[in-house]
Amino acid sequence: MMSASRHPQHWIAFKTIVTREIRRFLRIWAQTLLPPAITMTLYFIIFGNLIGTRIGDMEGFTYMQYIAPGVIMMAIINNAYANVASSFFSAKFQSHIEELIVAPVPNYLILAGYVAGGTTRGLLIGVIVSMVALFFTDLTIQHYWITFTIVLLSAVLFALGGFINAVYARSFDEISIIPTFILTPLTYLGGVFYSINLLPEFWQNVSLLNPVLYMVNAFRYGLLGISDVSVYWAFAIIVLFIATLTWYALHLLHKGTGLRN
């Protein structure tokens, strides 16, 4: 029989979705956990070690130290995005998303479960890449609270982006279009490898329109204590984006876009 309140059932349903998501990316660890570790190791070797030693200091830090926060953040947001995009699209493709649609699971829990799964992968990748970074440079955390919250919020934001991408996607090609043509350019132009102070004023202003710049710089502030932008602005922009994407994802679920006839 149903109890008057559905909260305990909701909590179990949420845990079930998250557990299933974690089990999925751990089962295919060679596709999900290993590649970012290898790619980021190459970034550290090539940009940090080989080229970085010739570049010299950046904003008072070695180039390796300077790029480490950006490289870690890049891995986190890419993986949070990819996890939800591929998992939710696969569920649509194999039709097992119907298991969730038929079940008494409210839309906000479906969204929360998938986003939590993607965020968990993002955070786990963050830990792995940070450990790789420690082989190349020293990393100390200057502002714990800022470091942790900015990582968490950035992973949540990109997991939401991955969810919306998967809702609209009709083929596997369509879940790689956004990462390839939007996410990657935004990340590379988001101050991962350079300070925007090096750019002409016009391009500095253009860069300020890139949300990834705020995430990378706020995280760099958390680790190194330096940033090209205001950390308060960074939090405000990320929270605003999260609120907007959450509303939009729930709207899509309510309409049944890509899910219901």
């Binding site: 097992h96 298991e99 969730l100 008494p104 006839n261």
Partner: protein, 306 residues
């Protein structure tokens, strides 16, 4: 109590196709109910609306007094669905699929584990519990879908063509299983192409055609409406003189096979006596077509010709 109430249900797809046209239906608690219709008649759309997979255009659906629009979660919690197509994660292990489904319905691991184990044993999947579902045979996949639909102990089980493509032995064992759970109190709605299946299992029936319910009654009354039946008789010796059956409506298929049409008022004993008197001895007999099939074609054909 009514397990399912559908009132004035309409569904028009984006391309303008009207799949459901003012469907009204009641299924009583404990019933074993058949929803029949030709391909594209609207059976799966109806089930899709009841299970929230299809958004209705208009109308009302109530499951055990819980309105699907106003009390969605409660209504959904009463339903177990066995869809027509396999729709589980092929990479997940069989038992994980059941436990995950139970979790979606709010069952704790402590409640779900014994329930999943019992269903896996009942449906002959226990040895496959750690196998990825994509490695199962077609019949096992069907049974897995039934186990998954039952893991949260639904009050209303909906099966959309559950025995499509399964061999006769498995079909019969699934019938026994479904009869058992119906006897234990689960209301069952079944769509099937095997009319014999509906005749064997179901007490009440609705026939849907071109999005409209063209018949909704109990199986017995429906079959009683059949005024004529055709029997196929295999004779012990070849029939050499067809004049012997001049006064009986018949069709000779070959020398030892004849088809005889009987009115419901005529008795089989009478027929056998007449045949026996004329030296015609019957070795075996069967219905030419399933009785429900005859009625089904009668009900559906007129609208097909429109």
């Amino acid at each position: 109590m009514t397990a399912l109430t559908i009132e004035h249900l309409n569904k028009t797809y984006g391309n303008g196709l009207q799949a459901l046209n003012d469907i009204n239906l009641n299924v009583e608690q404990g019933d074993f109910f058949a929803l029949l219709g030709p391909n594209g008649a609207g059976k799966s759309t109806t089930i899709g609306v009841i299970t929230s997979l299809v958004t209705k255009t208009a109308g009302r659906v109530q499951v055990f007094d819980a309105d699907l629009d106003d009390n969605t979660e409660l209504a959904k919690s009463y339903i177990g669905l066995v869809p027509q197509e396999f729709n589980f994660n092929g990479f997940e292990q069989v038992k994980h699929i059941l436990l995950t489904q139970a979790g979606y319905y709010g069952l704790s691991a402590k409640e779900a584990e014994p329930r999943a184990d019992a269903l896996l044993k009942q449906l002959g999947l226990w040895d496959k519990r750690a196998t990825p579902s994509r490695a199962l045979s077609g019949g096992m996949k069907r049974r897995l879908m039934i186990a998954r639909a039952l893991v949260h102990n639904p009050k209303l089980l909906i099966l959309d063509e559950p025995t499509a493509g399964v061999d006769i032995e498995l079909r019969r064992s699934m019938w026994t299983f479904l009869r058992d759970i119906n006897r234990q109190g689960t209301t069952i709605i079944l769509t099937t192409h095997y009319l014999e299946e509906a005749e064997n299992l179901c007490r009440n029936i609705a026939i849907i055609d071109k999005g409209r319910i063209v018949e909704n009654t109990d199986m017995k009354s429906l079959l009683n409406r059949l005024d004529k039946e055709t029997f196929v008789l295999d004779l012990q010796q070849p029939l050499t003189d067809s004049n012997l059956l001049q006064d009986i409506a018949h069709h000779q298929v070959d020398s030892t096979t004849i088809e005889i049409e009987l009115n419901r008022s005529d008795s089989l004993n009478g027929l056998f006596s007449v045949l026996s008197e004329r030296g015609i001895h019957v070795a075996s007999m069967k219905n030419k077509v399933n009785r429900l099939e005859e009625l089904f074609l009668k009900l559906v054909e007129p609208s097909e010709k429109q």
